[in-house]
């Protein structure tokens, strides 16, 4: 049995890693739950964002803020265009899964063509910075990602529950025709949401670039865990996605410490399988 300090360290690392899961899951959950579109390209977009951040940082020596300034509006427009495509051809839930898979592969090919299949690492001074709380080290970047995820998820929750546009979006997800009969302009709002989801992918991408090593094939390694996060957290619920991300991250962290790092993937999927079989009301 590992020591309590080690367990505590594993728990904190897991919780913070879970913040990144939540950040990635946020856009996916919103577009799946509220627009009924399963966006696999979300992962590819996040990695495109990560590679762009890497490029700006290492080749052009620009501040990360510039990367964000460029990535957010571009990705927003991309999200709007993707949504236009779905609207134009009347694509359903499964159709969107297939189409966005195609988009993901195209982005992956683009990344591989531009940056090759080699591993890339964005070296920044923050990468190794951390501070100590009691006996436990808290890595600064992971904490920043976690806080960003919390702010974005909280903001999205407030937006959906406290503003007209957010409520209208939820009403349309429930029953688009009835919502339209009450004067909800679903079209404009769904474009807005779709753009925002893509922009969230960009934010997640910046943190992926700062925290982890990049390779085009990594796009697919996050897919399983983040899907689990989105389902467990309930589709369309931003706080749920964050909570599920933290839950799975913490469980993985503990599993790594107690059993062995190699068994970590079993944890998230076992949680997913158990929850799917249990089918609680909030699912």
């Amino acid at each position: 049995m590992p020591s309590f300090t080690l367990l505590g360290q594993a728990l904190v690392s897991g919780l913070l890693a879970g913040g990144l899961y939540g950040l990635l899951g946020l856009g996916l959950s919103l577009s799946w739950g509220l627009l009924r579109l399963v966006n696999i390209a979300h992962f590819a977009l996040a990695f495109l964002g990560a590679y762009l951040t890497y490029e700006f940082g290492t080749e052009l020596h620009l501040n990360i803020a510039f990367a964000l300034l460029l990535i957010l509006p571009t990705f927003f427009v991309f999200g709007v265009m993707l949504h236009w495509l779905f609207k134009r051809f009347g694509v359903g839930e499964f159709g969107s899964l297939l189409v966005t898979f195609g988009v993901a592969v195209i982005i992956e090919s683009l990344i591989q063509w531009f940056w090759t299949a080699d591993f890339r690492r964005f070296e920044t001074p923050y990468a190794s910075s951390s501070f100590k709380v009691g006996p436990i080290y808290v890595p600064a970047l992971e904490l920043a990602a976690f806080l960003t995820a919390t702010v974005l998820a909280g903001g999205a929750w407030l937006w959906l529950n406290r503003t007209y546009v957010g409520k209208a979006l939820r009403a349309s997800a429930e029953d688009a025709q009835i919502a339209a009969a009450f004067g909800v302009n679903h079209r404009a709002q769904s474009y807005l949401l779709s753009g925002l989801c893509s922009a969230f992918a960009g934010v997640a991408g910046v943190f992926i670039a700062l925290i982890s090593t990049l390779a085009p094939s990594q796009i697919w390694t996050w897919l399983g865990v983040v899907f689990a996060v989105v389902i467990i957290g309930r589709l369309g619920n931003p706080l749920g996605a964050l909570a599920a991300g933290v839950l799975i991250g913490a469980c993985e962290g503990l599993a790594m410490a107690v059993i062995s790092p190699a068994w970590a993937p079993v944890v998230s999927f076992s949680i997913l399988i158990v929850i799917l079989l249990w089918q609680p009301r909030w699912l």
Binding site: V103, S109, W263, S270
Partner: protein, 606 residues
């Protein structure tokens, strides 16, 4: 769809092509061609096996890599560690993969409301769990499994030729299975499940068993394909085997070619493998992948049904147009009055004054056929039925009325077994049917119509009815003839080849009726068949219901249209707020003050 038409020729053609291809390795081509063709066979088998469940029944699986991998590791382990002869490992690989599929199916298909996306993710999750287990146990141990010491079964002299023949055999067997399934009762049931699973169950399809069979076939074939493939690749690693590439490729291939047609996945697999190979040999692997991805996007957007079904539909439409133009030419030539209106009695207003026809009162001593005893149902805190007791006598027409939300449709859902009871029993002919799965209740002789018609949208009108003949299980004789009989009985024979989307509301309602009759039920439950019909259509429907009863069928009908209730009912039962208020002769019931209270409000007499 593929199920219509008798095309045994395609199976013969498939076997002939297979036999011809079997001679290819002996022709002395370079060994490269053996491998090249093997890869095509591999993807055809894999994509076709995926479509058996996911294409036909509509449950998209993202876990095909799990079954393929289970087969690969079973074959490799048995051959390397236990020195089994390689050919003997392939059935074992199929069995292990099929067991895995059945295990997953037994868990997930029992869930009451399993949504398609959740099934997809569930299978994906199983893939990752399996991969982790194999990686961390001595099965693989993280370093992979070499099959270098395993001799390739020497079917013919050249090694690549032998692998080619194994791949070809897999491919032909898989396609033959797909053809057989898609032309069988199983296939018909799976297509129905894909369109509307609840209705399929109520029409007599054993949905759980059918899904399990399809899943076992699908995963078992993938396992066998994996067994063969292990000797082709020679070195297994977890990363290569359980990646996302396999499930997504088979989906892409099937969707491109047409996942609901037995040959669709094969066409898609061939096209994509050729395209990928073309780009790879030109040194443009990355561009090739991007182009194939683009192809996927375009095909989902522009050909959502896939190449083969789109092609077949175009051809059918063209044939229908030719037929129609030939017909109109003939009619013009003869200059005869068009006979079409006379041959559709249901479409013409009937001059008979139906209000004068008094319903034949059912004999009071008639046998009770359906007994509903103290049936209760609650949805969470809402009590939809609070103990309903009702006897239905053999050969009578019982009208079931009551305000909206009083539990009429819930009662029908209880009788057909669509929803489980919270309390009470239901008996048919003295035999308890409550608690049985819906398809068993359907086979005992209960059929229903839906208030909002729910046809199987991918089956033609005739196939919709034929499906109910075959699964209702109480008729005898050729299913197609019976289906045609019921269509013309209901006056819908002109629309036999039409698809449900092309039918108007009246025709859809009549199709509902024809589907229910096709099962030859003892008790027929009609849920608001008259709503939305115009007065002359109502007259026709009333006549039709009488004719059905005259054939000996007992009828319970839920209706808001009082004219139909009064004209048709031998007895009327009134429900209110989940209870049975009263039941009796129409005149008595209508004069009951409690009934008048419900319909006209309190104090109506004042």
């Amino acid at each position: 769809m593929a199920i219509s038409g008798n095309r045994n020729g395609s199976l013969g053609g498939l076997l002939a092509v297979g036999a011809a291809l079997a001679f290819m390795p002996m022709m002395g081509f370079p060994a490269f061609y053996d491998s090249f063709f093997y890869v095509i066979f591999y993807w055809i088998s894999l994509a076709t096996s995926w479509s058996l469940l996911s294409g036909y029944a509509g449950y998209f699986s993202l876990g095909h890599a799990a079954f393929l991998g289970a087969g690969m590791y079973t074959s490799a382990t048995l051959a390397v560690k236990f020195n089994w002869p390689f050919l003997a490992t392939i059935p074992a690989a199929a069995a292990v993969a099929a067991l895995l599929g059945c295990g997953i199916g037994a868990l997930v298909f029992r869930l009451p409301r399993l949504r398609g996306e959740l099934f997809a993710l569930m299978t994906l999750a199983v893939t990752f769990v399996l991969a982790t287990v194999i990686l961390n146990t001595p099965i693989d141990g993280g370093s992979g499994v070499f099959l270098s010491a395993v001799p390739v079964p020497a079917i013919i002299k050249s090694q690549t030729g032998s692998i080619y023949l194994l791949g070809l055999a897999m491919c032909i067997i898989t396609l033959a299975i797909a053809w057989t399934v898609s032309h069988s009762k199983l296939g018909l049931g799976l297509y129905a499940i894909s369109d509307d699973e609840d209705v399929a169950e109520v029409k007599g399809v054993p949905t759980f068993r059918y899904k399990m069979i399809a899943f076992a076939l699908s995963s078992g074939i993938a396992g066998a394909v994996g067994g063969v493939h292990s000797i082709y690749v020679g070195f297994l690693t977890v990363g290569e085997t359980f990646g996302i590439a396999v499930p997504l490729s088979v989906i892409l291939m099937s969707v491109l070619g047409g996942a609901r047609h037995w040959l669709g996945p094969a066409v898609g697999a061939t096209l994509i493998t050729l395209a990928l190979f073309g780009f790879a040999s030109a040194g443009q692997t990355i561009i090739g992948r991007a182009v194939v991805a683009l192809l996927l996007i375009v095909s989902v957007l522009c050909l959502p049904e896939g190449i083969i079904p789109t092609f077949l539909r175009r051809r059918r439409l063209a044939a229908a147009r030719r037929l129609a133009s030939a017909e109109s030419a003939r009619v013009e030539q003869e200059a005869a009055p068009a006979p079409s209106s006379a041959s559709t009695p249901a479409a013409t207003p009937v001059a008979v004054d139906v209000s004068n026809l008094k319903p034949a009162p059912a004999a009071q001593d008639a046998r009770v056929v359906l007994e509903v005893e103290d049936v209760r149902k609650s949805f969470g805190g809402l009590q939809a039925l609070r103990g309903v007791t009702l006897d239905v006598r053999e050969g009578e027409i019982l009208g079931l009325i009551g305000p909206n939300g009083c539990g009429k449709t819930t009662l029908i859902n209880m009788i057909t077994g669509h929803l489980p009871l919270s309390g009470g029993t239901i008996k048919l002919g003295g035999e308890k049917i409550s608690g049985l799965p819906a398809h068993m209740i359907a086979r005992r002789g209960i059929a229903r119509t839906y208030q909002i018609p729910r046809p199987f949208v991918h089956l033609s009108t005739l196939e919709n009815v034929e499906m109910c003949v075959r699964f209702g299980g109480r008729g005898s004789g050729a299913a197609r003839e019976q289906a045609l009989h019921w269509l013309s009985f209901c006056g819908l024979e002109q629309r036999a080849q039409a698809m449900p989307v092309d039918l108007n509301l009246r025709e859809r309602k009549v199709l509902e009726l024809a589907r229910a009759l096709a099962a030859k039920p003892r008790v027929l439950l009609l849920d608001e068949v008259m709503s939305g019909l115009n007065p002359s259509e109502v007259d026709t429907a009333i006549r039709l219901v009488r004719q059905i009863r005259d054939q000996g069928t007992t009828i319970v009908f839920v209706e808001h249209l009082m004219r139909a209730v009064v004209q048709l009912s031998d007895r009327v039962a009134v429900m209110n707020e989940g209870t049975l208020l009263t039941a009796g002769l129409p005149e008595q019931v209508m004069r009951d003050s409690r009934v008048m209270d419900i319909y006209f409000g309190h104090g109506h007499a004042a």
